[in-house]
Amino acid sequence: MTIERADIEKLAELARIELNEATIAETTQSIADVLALVDQLQAADTEGVEPMAHPTDAVQRLRADEVTETNHREEFQAIAPATEAGLYLVPKVID
């Protein structure tokens, strides 16, 4: 699977990571190397095999509908980059 610079740029946009112009070629190459590694999977015969998302056969426990959390806004916002009037501030959101 050949991956090109344009593919990397699209992924970087999806992942919201600005790529350094100087290193973009290197990044493209190293990702191509990793993809060459994972392409080895294609040789595997997986006909009829159910994908396994978890290593255990366990099933989900459901929790009772109770309010167990109390207000810790001050503590949480003490470590926030920017807050005001109890809100988290971010550059203007335009729909």
């Binding site: 919201r16 990793v34 994972v38 595997a44 290593p55 366990a58 426990r61």
Partner: protein, 504 residues
């Protein structure tokens, strides 16, 4: 244990079991031993860089509290014993960086369950250990806080991602440390640093408060110098946690209970695939000698096959990055952690915050992960890898029909020099070739020291069946009773004692 010998050991050379005995016998206080370690860290860690944060004041306060408890007759399991936490476990009021600039300023207002468990057990936290950024690495070269040096040879890596915990234990800067293992990050550094490390069965140790890398693979576990110490730590770490949906509700046995069971009749599976090309000959010899030792103790070695072994690394490098790409999306500069200066708009804030906060390996894995999940590639990569995962698990399930434990080398070679893997990420990934399959299958695994090659430690890997940690620890302990590899220390680390490694 021979008391006259252990009494004479320097405080930092004592095992956790010995420390507990010493504290209980009143030979020294927790404050004394804690101060001792803190001084030693100050004195020596400049060389190894195994700690990111040292909690001087709070450690002494905890030690004082432990001494008080002991005096009042209230002695929880690890009362007064100093330990360190890998900087991936959230510690209330103490910076938790995950080895990354992204969280350099992150001070969580909550504790991980593992941290809480140790606090309830009366342990004293010396500090937070260094690690590969976001647990992604096998050499601890990617940390924002600089690489960790292997105490055996400071030109070489300690392994990763739990390089800090491994080096701290190996350099006797803590008797035990917590760590995490997603593809081998406990076992491989344990092997490279000549110490004992254990990755429990998936779901045995709570992941609450343990910063997620790959959710279906991550497990927290102990690193120490003996199997017995790992058992003592695992007793504390293992618990059912209702806050973690993947935590398994199963009774925690006393992991020290079966340590002394004789090995006669034990069936040890030796996977053919773990002894092929790529394995350092010195490493192979040390491992084979170790296996011979087990035979002497009555174990039977059985050749087995884990046919899909070759697919483990490719499968892992789809699944782990895929999960990580989503797990690391929350680091966006909005609610905590790093935020870039003067963002000109929302998109700019995201793009630069994440570019500045994450190291190169982290970025690489996020992009690979996004790729494997993206439209058009999901089936060929992610879905395919999950199918292969099931095949890999089945290999183990089949093998465990015939054998009790599976053993082989932990790592293909001893510690390598900094920069040796160069710019080739894949070369680094192959470091985990023997450990990765265990994570995919969710099985427990251990590494114990079993030899030296050019004065560098070699690790013997033990893979157990699901929830069979007791058996793994038993095998490890019996091996350590008969051999001295686990007592070897790097030159200059252990202090002179009246009698050094006494015959056991």
């Amino acid at each position: 244990m021979n008391n006259s010998i252990t009494n004479q050991k320097a405080l930092h050379d004592k095992t956790i079991a010995e420390i507990l005995a010493g504290l209980n016998a009143g030979e020294f206080t927790s404050v004394e031993i804690t101060q001792h370690f803190l001084d030693r860290i100050k004195q020596l860690d400049g060389t190894y860089n195994s700690y990111i944060t040292v909690n001087e004041a709070s450690a002494l306060a905890q030690a004082e509290a432990a001494d008080k408890r002991r005096a009042e007759g209230d002695v929880p399991a690890l009362c007064g014993v100093p330990i360190a936490h890998k900087d991936i476990f959230c510690t209330n009021g103490v910076r938790t960086s995950c080895g990354s600039k992204m969280l350099d300023n992150f001070v969580p207002p909550y504790d991980a369950t593992v941290v809480e468990n140790f606090a309830n057990a009366g342990a004293v936290v010396l500090g937070k250990t260094n690690m590969d950024q976001f647990a992604m690495g096998s050499s601890n070269e990617t940390s924002f806080y600089g690489p960790v040096k292997n105490p055996w040879d400071t030109n070489t890596v300690p392994g990763g991602s739990s390089g800090g915990s491994a080096a701290a234990v190996a350099a006797h800067l803590t008797p035990g440390a917590t760590a995490t293992d997603t593809g081998g990050s406990i076992r491989q550094p344990a092997a490279l640093c000549g110490i004992t490390g254990l990755k429990p069965t998936y779901g045995r140790v709570s992941r609450w408060g343990m910063i997620a890398f790959a959710s279906s693979l991550d497990q927290g576990g102990p690193m120490a110098r003996t199997a017995e110490d790992c058992a003592l730590m695992l007793n504390v770490m293992a618990s059912f946690d209702p806050k973690d949906s993947t935590s398994i509700d199963r009774e925690v046995p006393n992991y020290t209970a079966n340590l002394n069971q004789p090995l006669a009749g034990l069936k040890v599976g030796i996977p053919r695939e773990y002894f092929k090309e790529g394995l350092n000959p010195g490493t192979e010899q040390a491992v084979r000698d170790a296996l011979t030792e087990l035979e002497k103790q009555g174990a039977t070695l059985i050749s087995i096959s884990l046919p899909h072994t070759k697919l483990a690394v490719p499968a892992y490098y789809v699944i782990a990055p895929a999960e990580a790409s989503a797990n690391l999306s929350r680091f966006d500069g909005v609610r905590y952690g790093h935020r870039c200066d003067d963002p000109k708009d929302l998109r700019d804030m995201y793009m630069r915050t994440r570019a500045e906060g994450f190291g190169d390996e982290v970025k690489r894995r996020i992009l690979v992960g996004a790729y494997c999940l993206s439209a058009g590639y999901y089936d060929a990569y992610y879905r395919k890898a999950q199918q292969v995962r099931r095949l890999i698990k089945q290999d183990f399930v089949d093998a465990f029909e015939q054998v009790d434990v599976i053993m082989g080398p932990t790592s293909p070679s001893p510690a390598f020099e900094f920069g040796a893997k160069g710019d080739d990420p894949v070369a680094m990934y192959l470091e985990d070739i023997y450990t990765i399959a265990t994570n995919l299958a969710g099985l427990p695994g251990m590494s114990v020291p079993c030899g030296l090659v050019d004065d560098k430690p070699v690790g013997l890997q033990i893979i157990g069946n699901y929830f069979d940690e007791s058996r793994m620890l038993n095998v490890a302990h019996q091996f350590q009773q008969a051999t001295h590899w686990h007592q070897q220390t790097p030159v200059g680390i252990a202090s002179e004692a009246k009698d050094t490694e006494g015959a056991e």
